[in-house]
């Protein structure tokens, strides 16, 4: 049933800190590795050593430049994957019921035994978060590592999405954004976390933390004690006396 649940018990999702992401692509390949071995069909690569390679990735890191008039341009790395929207348009458009949002934790998944690979969900998603696997003909998307976060075969500390576990800079945070007291919710509150394209009404669960203001250093110049060697020696003698 591709109707969205009226309410989910939890809103599991990611908080991605754009002030910390260095754009290393660690999350990209960790995701590719885990999800090739796990949930559903492997993430395939076509013409992998050829002239026109292509492949399925559930998470990709973009780089943007922003420049305000009269200021230095700044670079922002932005990892992009499924935002597990509360009002996920990708779910409601699905003709087969393959796309669904879990009522217990809000994760948006594709039931691969139902998917016909029509691609309509990808069209409905504003974020480019769904990719049709060319080899399997099935729609792939971030599962929030649903087969990690509850996995009893993993040590408890590893029960987080692969991208979060691997992120070297700690720019990715995982938790329940439906619980205002969770660490991730507090992070969002403290750092002004924002939604992508809120006007489209998708109500994303994942949040982005904006880059902190850049190039603000404005410390007043130091006071001069001596401008030439002789004066300096005088200052030095006094300063040594105080040691």
């Amino acid at each position: 049933m591709t109707a969205l649940p009226e309410k989910t018990e939890k809103k599991l999702g990611l908080v991605i800190d754009l002030d910390t992401c260095v754009g290393c692509h660690g999350c990209v390949t960790a995701c590719k590795g885990w999800n090739t071995q796990n949930y559903g069909a492997p993430l395939s690569d076509t013409d992998p050593y050829g002239a026109d390679p292509g492949g399925t990735f559930l998470n990709r890191v973009f780089s943007y430049e922003a420049q305000a008039e009269g200021k230095a341009a700044q670079t922002v790395h932005m990892p992009r994957s499924c935002l597990h929207c509360d009002d996920a348009p990708c779910v409601t458009v699905c003709p087969t019921g393959a796309s669904y949002k879990r009522s217990e934790d809000g994760i948006v998944l594709v039931n691969e035994d139902r998917c016909i690979g029509c691609g309509l969900c990808a069209w409905a998603c504003p974020y480019g978060a769904r990719e049709l696997d060319r080899e399997a003909g099935i729609m792939k998307k971030c599962t929030l590592c649903v087969d990690r976060i509850y996995n009893q075969n993993l040590p408890e500390e590893d029960r987080v999405p692969a991208c979060v576990r691997t992120c070297p800079a700690g720019a990715r945070h995982f938790g329940d954004l439906g619980d205002p007291d969770s660490d991730v919710s507090k992070l969002v509150a403290n750092r002004g976390g924002f939604d992508l394209m809120p006007d489209l009404g998708t109500k994303p669960v994942n949040k982005y933390l904006p880059p902190r203001p850049k190039d603000t250093l404005d410390t007043a110049p130091l006071e001069v004690v001596a401008d030439e060697p002789k004066g300096f020696l005088g200052w030095l003698d006094k300063a040594l006396e105080k040691l």
């Binding site: 049933m1 660690g26 390949t29 069909a41 230095a72 691997t166 800079a169 300096f232 030095l236 040594l240």
Partner: protein, 942 residues
């Protein structure tokens, strides 16, 4: 029908059959990895949470390691060249035949003229072993890739303070409040820097990035200083100028822990001029603040008087600190004076200096941790200056790189921020001053081992490796007047010098893991020509080339004999304390690799092959007294080899009982213990030894106990590097060992014992107006040298590169997306795709390094974007400076260390009309020894 939102899915699937823990080799960072095995195959790789380097995290390369391991580019068996060099035509041979051929070339050379065998290893992580082989063989011609990487950084650090960045030390990430980062090659300390930056970000600490390019780490820097390439030293010395003028230097620290108080002989024309005044025991003298008398610098209770001077025989001799203040208070280092050249506004420089001072001195950290210094004095606290720095290739790969790196260490030391809480901290076996390192050796006796280690730290002209006629003993001319302190050798000069027969011809070039026929050489096209050039008899100028690589790289085609290496998951390795270990500031650590899977091809780990070759050649150390092989393979060597009694490649679980840490006799179960422990060993430094390591008694004792030193070796930092002055004195005509006349002026200028800045040589060598633009390369975080392109995942991320142009250049030339530019240096020209990058120094263009590939290599399609659109900047860079009309070959290197000056490059740019069909130059295709990879990869082990 179940409501899908209640669909039962298996959220607890089995993850793997088994986890095998080893060490990553997707770059030089050496993180711990958990290799998940399914059905005997590698299924998934993640970071090892217990590992001291990466604490569980893993970068884009590491997580893609599985695709490297299964790459179709892996060589399959030993190869013997059957076509002409460069064609890629080989036949597969057996290992017996391969070793027979190699020994057939090497054995006679050893008996007659061992120096005609040159053994250079590239991104080798087993240098303590490969150098041992070369030493046993007896050739002076050995080095790894440091000379074209970051030797300026390493050597400047060792000479100044007994260690530099990365393997030598790290910022105190947990406490530092202001972090300044200069040009960094991302694979140098990859994950630790990211983890550290994450910690700073979590605390909201300030990060200042100094880099012409605002990408990667600089993207998240709070303040970006888009400096003009090659001017970092000038910028740093302007900061020093500001700090000195304001008296914002840590005088107590300088007095106690540096040679600031050492009295310098200022008697003009004396052969001792500029050297320290020494006591009868040879110890440098300071002027005691209390008595005003000269005193040994290390006399307990003596505080040197930095403000005093010493008059003797009509000459006034001053302490180092006064010479230093004299120099940097000069207006030529004023922010206003350097603003234009550095591209940084004077106000900004002043503001940064003020912020450094504010954080260092007003946000001082005090730890209630008693400690005892080397003179026996007890201290009840540890005082920290929470500013820290990190730098790497960006500042070192210039012809002024050594002095620039020195300047940075000077700045750190003036702020009192080295080896203190919140500052910069050494990692064992560092700190280790230059005196404690070996001296270079090149004493050759046919049939015998070399007279000592190849590489080291010269303390004066007496340690140069020169023949009696003044020519170089080494093929790369390391440790000559051209680059006296070339501590890592000059791998980038080997092929060029061997081809030119300067200083002499060689017979066999033996290389490992160095893609010299492509991205690891300056002037790649010309290097290919040199490798294939023939003499008047039609023989190759370099008669024999042996090469070991795991993959079908460009260099493979240029060798006569290929010894195929394994992947990193199929081999034994050792990240040794004897070499470049993985220690952290809080502990000594080393690690192993072990075969988590056995090779499915006829390949052998290169180190094992060296063991076999060494045995076959009967090299001392490789065979027993009766000539039988001493070691079965590399693993056997790792366990049983002893460099000094009780000290071997691996420090953990030594001794019969496995209790030995650092010292102890070989333990047959040692490797098993490593495997059991996750592939590494760590031994934590006692808390009271955590800081002030060079002067901390507890640390010195711990280091001796662990076999890091054999005796305590406290020392002070060298603001003033006396050995450099010795070379200058020679240039001034003092002493018996004299430089050739054409080098006197350069040595006198560049071997200054106090940091200086001079423009990169290229600025003078070419017409800077005709070539107004600086061109740089940097390595993407997800690619390591040439390795990434054979990785099906990584090459999708970066399968082509663009030359990034700043806004002004972009608009001035009317470029649009999809355009190509002709980029011309004094040396050559390339035609390449361009893109716009606004966050860039306005005089700088750049591109990602080593994305371009030769057609037919790495098991890629000949039409792969790597071989059609992507490109190398290397074609624009010559290993020599342009001819000066003196008939001499001047290396395009730092004059102190010989480090390749990659980043000196200047170019001009024009729009390419019409667009070329492919990036230029195009090199003919090589026959692939491994064919092409499969059409689809979807590898799920069920």
């Amino acid at each position: 029908m179940n409501k899908p939102e209640h669909l039962q899915i298996d959220t607890s699937p089995p993850v793997s059959d088994e986890v095998r823990k080893t060490t990553c080799y997707m770059c030089a960072c050496r993180c711990g990895i958990n290799v998940h095995m399914k059905d005997g195959q590698v299924a998934y790789i993640e970071g090892n949470r217990d590992h001291p380097v990466n604490r569980g995290v893993l970068c884009g390369k590491g997580s893609a390691g599985i695709m490297q391991h299964y790459a179709p580019s892996r060589l399959r068996a030993p190869l013997k060249r059957v076509g002409p060099r460069g064609s890629g035509e080989f036949e597969e041979i057996s290992w017996d035949e391969a070793l027979e051929i190699a020994a057939g070339w090497l054995a006679p050379l050893r008996e007659t003229d061992p120096k005609r065998m040159a053994f250079f290893t590239g991104r080798d992580q087993s240098q303590s072993f490969t150098s041992w082989f070369a030493q046993a063989y007896g050739t002076p011609n050995y080095a790894a890739h440091g000379g074209f990487c970051s030797v300026n950084m390493a050597a400047a650090g060792i000479y100044t303070m007994g260690g530099a960045f990365w393997e030598f030390g790290q910022p105190d990430w947990d406490r530092t409040k202001l972090f300044m980062l200069f040009g960094v090659a991302e694979d140098h300390d990859s994950n630790p820097i990211k983890i550290g930056l994450g910690k700073l970000k979590e605390r909201g600490a300030r990060v200042i990035g100094v880099n012409p390019i605002r990408s990667g780490y600089n993207a998240i820097a709070d303040d970006w200083v888009g400096i003009t390439p090659g001017t970092d030293g000038l910028f740093i010395l302007a900061l020093v100028h500001e700090l000195l003028r304001a008296g914002k230097v840590d005088l107590g620290y300088l007095s106690r822990y540096t040679n600031a108080g050492f009295v310098v002989n200022e008697e003009p024309n004396s052969p001792e001029n500029g050297l320290f005044i020494r006591g009868e025991n040879g110890k440098p003298q300071v002027i005691c603040r209390e008595t005003g008398k000269l005193s040994d610098y290390d006399t307990p209770g003596v505080m040197p008087d930095l403000a005093a001077n010493y008059r003797h025989a009509g000459t006034t001799h001053r302490p180092v600190f006064q010479l230093l203040a004299d120099r940097y208070l000069n207006d030529k280092y004023a922010p206003e004076a350097v603003a234009d050249q550095t591209g940084i506004a004077a106000e900004r420089i002043k503001s940064i200096a003020a912020e450094l001072a504010r954080v260092a001195f007003e946000e001082e950290i005090v730890l209630d941790q008693p400690w005892t210094d080397w003179k026996g004095q007890k201290h009840d606290k540890m005082i920290g200056r929470p500013v820290s720095f990190h730098a790497m290739r960006g500042i070192s790969a210039h012809s002024n790189g050594f002095q620039t790196c020195r300047a940075l260490h000077l700045l750190q030391i003036l702020l009192g921020s080295v080896e203190v809480p919140g500052g910069f901290r050494f990692k064992p076996p560092y700190p280790k001053p230059p005196e404690a390192h070996p001296k270079p050796h090149a004493g050759v006796t046919p049939g015998q081992p070399l007279d000592g280690p190849h590489l080291g730290y010269p303390m004066g002209p007496e340690h140069l490796l020169l023949e009696n006629d003044g020519t170089a003993k080494r093929i790369d001319k390391a440790f000559t007047w051209e680059n006296p302190m070339s501590a890592h050798g000059l791998m980038h000069m080997v092929i060029s010098n061997a081809h030119a027969g300067d200083p002499y011809k060689i017979d066999t070039l033996f290389m490992y893991m160095a893609n010299m026929a492509w991205n690891s050489s300056m002037n790649s096209s010309e290097v290919m020509r040199m490798l294939t050039d023939t003499d008047e008899k039609g023989d190759y100028v370099i008669p024999h080339i042996i090469y070991s690589d795991a993959y079908s790289s460009e260099m493979v085609a240029y060798a006569d004999l290929i010894l195929p290496d394994t992947t990193y998951l199929e081999r034994h390795d050792c990240i040794s304390l004897l070499d470049r270990p993985i220690c952290e500031a809080d502990g000594a650590a080393d690690a192993i690799r072990w075969p988590v899977v056995e090779p499915d091809r006829d390949v052998r780990g290169f180190q094992t092959v060296l063991i076999q070759l060494g045995s076959k050649l009967g090299l001392p150390g490789f065979v027993t007294d009766d000539g039988a092989p001493k070691f079965k393979d590399y693993a056997d060597y790792l366990v049983n080899h002893e460099r000094r009694p009780g000290v071997g490649p691996l420090a953990g679980w030594r001794g019969k009982d496995g209790e030995g840490r650092g010292r102890g006799e070989p333990n047959p179960a040692q490797i098993d213990k490593y495997i059991e422990n996750g592939g590494f060993w760590v031994d934590h430094i006692p808390t009271e030894a955590s800081f002030y390591k060079p002067w901390n008694k507890a640390y010195q004792e711990w280091a001796v106990a662990r076999g890091i030193f054999d005796a305590e070796a406290p020392y002070v930092f060298n603001l003033y590097v006396e050995p450099m002055r010795k070379f200058q004195l020679a240039a001034e005509g003092h002493g018996d060992i004299q430089p050739p006349d054409h080098l006197r002026a350069r040595i006198a200028e560049t071997m200054d014992p106090l940091p200086i800045w001079y423009p990169p040589f290229e600025d003078a060598n070419v017409d800077a107006d005709a070539f107004p633009i600086h061109a740089l390369t940097q390595r993407p975080m997800h690619m390591y040298h040439s390795w990434g392109s054979q990785n099906a995942w990584l090459r999708q991320i970066t399968g082509k590169n663009f030359l990034y142009l700043p806004t002004d250049l972009w608009t001035e030339h009317g470029f649009e997306d999809g355009d190509y530019a002709v980029v011309t240096s004094a040396h050559g020209s390339i035609t390449v795709p361009v893109a716009h990058h606004a966050a860039l120094n306005p005089k700088t263009v750049w591109t990602w390094n080593a994305i371009g590939k030769r057609k037919g290599t790495w098991a890629l399609d000949k039409a792969a974007p790597e071989a059609t659109e992507a490109f190398l900047l290397n074609h624009l860079i010559h290993e020599l400076q342009p001819p000066k009309g003196d008939g001499l070959r001047w290396a395009n290197s730092d004059p102190v260390t010989g480090q390749a000056a990659w980043f000196d490059l200047r170019v001009k740019i024009a729009k390419s009309v019409p667009k070329p069909a492919e990036s230029q130059p195009v090199h003919p295709s090589i026959t692939s020894p491994v064919g092409k990879g499969p059409d689809v990869v979807a590898r799920k082990i069920r």
